[in-house]
């Protein structure tokens, strides 16, 4: 560790890249750490504690988007903080009109409900698209491993939700009735002592039938992500609209890139505007047509605009 006797070394470019947020107090900044998907190796956490003790306040803040934020860092120390965290490859997050650090649930490695490897997807988006300037406004991505959707994917500019389409192997079915009992949406029905029937249009792709089936008769026909676009929360919340189903894991980065390109192109001259509001202005079908050319197997037929949530505070003109 270098001595601090040479005086402060402040890299102003570091400040521009975002992740250093001015606090109320004189000279003080919060430092937002980059923790894609909220997964923090314990070894790295130890170093963060060390740096926080040395340069930060009495506590750290666990942000809503899964970051650890060091508080009360004197601006003269921000380069030291970045450098010392860099020893454990801990990077600083961003703020402003950029692709933000993706949020994700624990995924499917140890969580029995998880259908897709959200941790892998979050890391991939973080590695390839984090910090990309949108030219307009922030751009948030979230990954939920299953339709329980703990990360509230549809409140992001792009939200991914793990999904599985089940199918029944009648030969293996022991007619125990557990799938009928487990399916909360009525997509599986059965008469007494008969094999169950699958009503696919009612299915929400949660995979509970596959997981509960004691004989392995329910199997995954295909799995992937349900994709919703144009969500946001904040002052004028929007719920993202469904644009694709069963998008494979290996198409996630290309899909987000294509949406970003459409957002940039279609927001020209509109200033600081979020994707969902652009979609409301231009019609969701304009984006669908664009995406369908590149992802014909996954993009849905039609889409409604992002759904406006009426907060009942403040009348809109």
């Amino acid at each position: 560790m270098t001595e601090q006797s040479e005086g402060p070394r402040i890299d102003l470019n570091q400040l521009k890249a975002g992740g250093f947020i001015k606090e109320l107090g004189k000279d003080l900044f919060s430092v937002r750490l980059r923790v894609p998907g909220g997964r923090m190796p314990v070894s790295r956490l130890k170093k963060i504690v060390e740096v926080a003790e040395k340069y930060g306040g009495e506590f750290v803040h666990l942000s809503v988007r899964q970051s650890i934020e060091l508080v009360h860092v004197d601006y003269r120390h921000i380069s030291d903080v970045a450098e010392e965290l860099g020893l454990v490859r801990q990077k600083i997050a961003s703020c402003g009109a950029r692709v933000r650090v993706p949020v994700a649930c624990g995924g499917c490695e140890y969580n029995p409900k998880g259908l897709m490897d959200t941790q892998k997807s979050a890391l991939e988006i973080d590695a390839k698209l984090f910090g990309t300037e949108t030219g307009h406004h922030k751009f948030k991505v979230a990954f939920a491993g299953c339709p329980s959707d703990c990360p509230k994917s549809a409140t992001n500019d792009i939200g991914f939700q793990g999904a599985v389409l089940p199918e029944l192997d009648g030969e293996t079915c022991i007619e125990c009735g557990l799938c009928v009992k487990t399916c909360t949406v009525g997509a599986i029905v059965a008469k007494e002592n008969e094999k169950p029937t699958f009503i696919s249009e009612r299915c929400i792709y949660c995979g509970d039938c596959i997981k509960v089936c004691p004989s392995g008769a329910w199997k995954a026909r295909k799995s992937g992500y349900t994709v919703r676009i144009g969500g946001k929360w904040g002052r004028n919340p929007l719920i993202g609209t469904l644009v694709a189903t069963f998008l494979p894991e290996d198409k996630v980065v290309d899909f987000v890139s294509a949406v970003l390109a459409w957002y940039r192109e279609n927001s020209k001259g509109l200033g600081r505007v979020r994707l969902g509001d652009v979609m409301i202005g231009k019609g969701a079908d304009a984006l669908l047509r664009d995406l369908r050319q590149r992802f014909p197997d996954y993009v849905v037929e039609t889409a409604m605009p992002p759904h406006v949530i009426d907060t009942q505070i403040g009348k809109r003109p």
Partner: protein
């Protein structure tokens, strides 16, 4: 056949009790496990399958509870 009665035991204690009980049996032995309707029957069979036991059948009894029959897997 051995019977393990887990009626009235809630999740996840019923799974742990079933697991401990199954450790006492030889691999390949057939065991009958009694489970409550609801969360118990949704979770315990699946978890035991994941532990490597072979599920043979599951039937609801007129009284409302379920009888799970399985063949004990290797430890």
């Amino acid at each position: 056949m051995h019977t393990v009665d887990l009626r009235g035991v809630c999740c996840p204690a019923n799974f742990v009790r079933a697991k401990l009980a199954l450790e006492e049996f030889e691999t390949g032995e057939e065991v009958r496990i009694l489970l409550d309707d609801g969360e118990a029957v949704k979770n315990v069979p699946r978890s035991l399958k994941e532990e490597g036991h072979q599920l043979l059948g599951l039937k609801q009894m007129p009284e409302g509870h379920f009888v799970l029959e399985l063949k004990s897997g290797e430890d």
